[in-house]
Amino acid sequence: MEKPSKTVGEPRQQQEREHLGTAKPAEPAAAKPAESEDFVGKTSATDKAPNTVDEFRFWLRHGQLLNPFDFVAVEHESGTVSIGVVREMERITDAQSHLSNFVSSNFGDVSEAPNTLRVGTTVVTASVMANSGFKLHDRPDAVEVSLPIASDKKVRFATAPEVMFALGVHGMRNRVPAGIIEMSNGTQVPVSVNGDYLLGPEGAHINASGTSGLATKTSYLMFLIQGLYQRLHDDISIILFNVKQHDLLHIHEPATDLSERDRRIFHSLDLEPTPFDESDVHYFLPRGVRGAPNSEHVPAGHQVYAYEFPSAKERLDLLFSEISDPQGTIESIVGFIRETPTLVQTRANETLKAGQRVVTWSDLRAFDSYPENVVTHAYSLRRFQRHLTRLTRGNPLFPDAAGEAVDLGDEIVRIRRGHVYVIDMARITATEEQAFIVGDVMSRLEEAYLSDDQDRPKRVVILVDELNRYCPARERLSSVAEQLIEIARTGRSRGAILFGAEQFKSSVNRQVTENCATHVVGRTGSQELEDAAYKFMDRMTRSSISRLGKGELVLAHPLFRQPVRVVFPRPAFKRQEAQ
């Protein structure tokens, strides 16, 4: 091994001399030197609270504003710059206990005015994100200095290039715009995540969680999707499940509430603040009474979807996925129905004649010619028929004859590049029906990937809001949950990318969340944050999340050493909130 040209620990002046000669700092250490007023404090290492490879502490200059998730920079050894992100801030004084302050105030006299203010400061803990490194001989990459940062080093706000360097943006392929970092000194830094970790092959899927209404998690996922749509238009397709009123039923219409700031953010991210192209968007609305759409809003050019028995037969298990079936009796009957090419009534009953074939939901409800090994007890059959009747009788989504309604699965199998498929199910309240729709789309997508169609998109992004409904954290997995878990586990290799959102990450099956390479967390209650699902973030970050404002999100990405806080523009399409 070649001897390094310099050894940390040598006299600084010697190192500086060498630095001026052969060794040069890597980008962005050459960023403009800070003015003295830019310094926010100085590093502080003590016996009990030493600086480490991963974090350093500094005291804050009097009157200096700083917030968690701000980026700071410190000159480090060998002319390098270390960049850190603020994690925690503590206000300390020299009072040894609260009793000291009580005594100081003349033993609890609240009117006592302090003649001298206690010595106190704010001590900031920052996590090291990156070191600019220095050039060493002919090594192609800069050598990072991992030494703990020394005490009494001046700390300043990091510059935008330094923040981008710390996030690894400079060497990132397939950048996907992910919002901007806003720092307390007004610096705004556009942030990208690595597409290889969002859409594969290195990693895939994103999960967003947070308190409803405050976290704006769906808006954020839509913002990401819009970026993907603009950047990778011909490589991807997008499937969106609309579960809230008419949130996603205007995505081809221009936004009515974009501010100048929103537009600026779009432009800083090199994105156009324009809605999805109308010709690319397909709205699928559930069939309602008399064949009319059962939706909060009916966009032009929509299609109504419904499920006749023959087309739903293969996925009948999805319809019963929410029903408790400890003995497996319903599973046995459903399995028989799926596996039998044509169901034929053998003995006439009140509805069906002997020899009549089952072609509609009505037929199925009346059908009772099951083999004895499938229905071992009459009660089991009655239970199955009772549930089937509850789910399908009078339900326009499961008609005997769908009329002009399309088979959603057939449309998904023919999925096209650059197109967006919005599947509305906001007015569908039964969990079984929602699970059936989601599960049907997933399984038909699976079929599409098994085909040899060369025109199918390389990647399909699937937005599933309220993920906890379809894939809850419980031991017994429903059919739709199994499909979602399968996508989370293996979708990366096939190009099926899950963009999932829920209020509480703890309520979603761990196999789904843990297979997500990227996580976004909005404001969340501190009790929920104690759950193991959030352990990928440290205590200080979790604490900060409970204080996030509306529209602020914490983004954890495999290439970021620490989670960062991002903000993003309002979506560039018309939204329900803006109406």
């Binding site: 040894q96 302050n101 100081s104 302090p114 001298t116």
Partner: protein, 390 residues
């Protein structure tokens, strides 16, 4: 080379004046007879005793323990003055500067020569002043440090060795007190135990430094300097707008209220002193001898109770002693209002307090800040050992 940019390595350690100084001293000490280093791993940091302030005050009042009240007392049973409302900095920012001195002494070893031996003691003395801004925050105003080898008189030190040692003092200038000086104990001061006398010399060096620092900055007629501890020594007499504030004081003095002839002791004087009151002002009955001021200045003293008396324990709990430089004779017209103003301003210094530090009840916070700054600025004993043995 400034201390802030010190980057020590085997190659450049000799550039530190203190290292050079200690090397020269070692050579001089080893020249004749023998010099045995302290055998334990670290040089012993000399224990100064539990209350050097009180001990010093005892010494000061030993020879002249009688003090006379210069204020007329109406009530001999309750000889005190109620101060009324404290004067906070928002009303009248009386005290702006706060000075504290500190020292650490180290036994470097034992020097034997010609059948006699003496301890070789090194001291680091420091002095810091903090300034209180209008908003109540404090900032460093001044700091000085001295490193000294305390040289006993001859004998037990031989004249040759003394000369060798005195010639080794380094003086590179501008090295933030990292030069080493040799300070010699005068023969007449060596009355008892040598080590005690050397430690007394160290305190004397500290007081010189305090005066030097106090004189190094101008302050207007309205802003006062508070020095931690008594200022009865002659060298303090020329300081203007300065008081000494003693957290602990001698119990030896006796107090006389003319024309009465019977004196009382300090406990009898102060036991019932209420919080927010002061004693009358006293001057030494043998003022000239007690202060020996070349300018004719003397010291007037009084006591202020800052804290409520403790229910049990020390009857002097929460009482500070104030030393005030009187220019010539005590004048009720001139000095009386000043005493009143200073006493009421002192009451406001109760908040905030350095509780629960030692002697917190008589400690005022800005002095505590100066003390804290000073302690953090003195050399770490491990570093000191490195300098002495390098």
């Amino acid at each position: 080379m400034s201390t802030e940019s010190l980057w020590v390595s085997a190659e450049n350690i000799h550039e530190i004046p203190a290292v050079r100084g200690f090397r020269s001293l070692r050579e001089a000490l080893g020249k004749r007879g023998s010099f045995s280093h302290a055998t334990i791993e670290e040089p012993v940091e000399e224990v100064l005793g539990s209350d050097p302030d009180q001990r010093e005050d005892d010494q000061q009042t030993r020879d002249f323990p009688l003090f006379e009240a210069v204020e007329r007392v109406q009530d001999s049973v309750r000889p005190w003055v109620l101060l009324g409302r404290p004067i906070g900095r928002a009303d009248d920012h009386v005290f702006r500067y706060f000075l504290d001195g500190s020292l650490r002494t180290y036994r470097w070893g034992e020097k034997s020569e010609g059948g006699t031996s003496f301890p070789v003691i090194v001291t680091e003395v420091g002095c810091a002043v903090v300034f209180r801004r209008d908003d109540g925050t404090v900032t460093r105003h001044a700091f000085k440090r001295r490193l000294c080898l305390l040289l006993p008189p001859t004998p037990p030190v031989s004249s040759d060795t003394a000369e060798d040692l005195l010639q080794t003092s380094t003086d590179d200038g501008g090295n933030a007190g990292l030069n080493v000086e040799v300070v010699r104990l005068a023969r007449e001061r060596h009355l008892g135990d040598l080590r005690t006398a050397l430690l007394g010399k160290a305190r004397s060096v500290m007081h010189e430094l305090e005066v030097s620092v106090a004189n190094s900055f101008p302050h207007d007629g309205q802003s006062w300097l508070v020095i931690d501890g008594a200022i009865r020594k002659r060298i303090f007499m020329d300081l203007r707008n300065t008081i000494g504030l003693a957290k602990s004081f001698s119990r030896k003095p006796r107090f006389l209220f003319p024309p009465a002839r019977r004196s009382i002791d300090v406990v009898a004087l102060l036991r019932y002193l209420p919080c927010g009151a002061r004693s009358p002002v006293f001057v030494s009955s043998a003022r000239a001898q007690a202060t020996d001021s070349p300018t004719g200045a003397g010291i007037a003293s009084w006591y202020v109770r800052l804290r409520e008396p403790s229910i049990q324990g020390d009857p002097l709990h929460g009482i500070v002693k104030v030393d005030y430089v009187v220019d010539g004779e005590w004048s009720a017209e001139r000095d009386g209002p000043a005493v009143e103003r200073l006493s009421r301003a002192l009451l406001a210094e109760r908040s905030v307090s350095p509780y629960p530090t030692n002697r917190w009840a008589t400690h005022i916070y800005p002095i505590f800040c100066a003390e804290t700054f000073l302690k953090s600025s003195l050399l770490n004993p491990v570093v000191m050992r490195g300098l002495m043995e390098a």
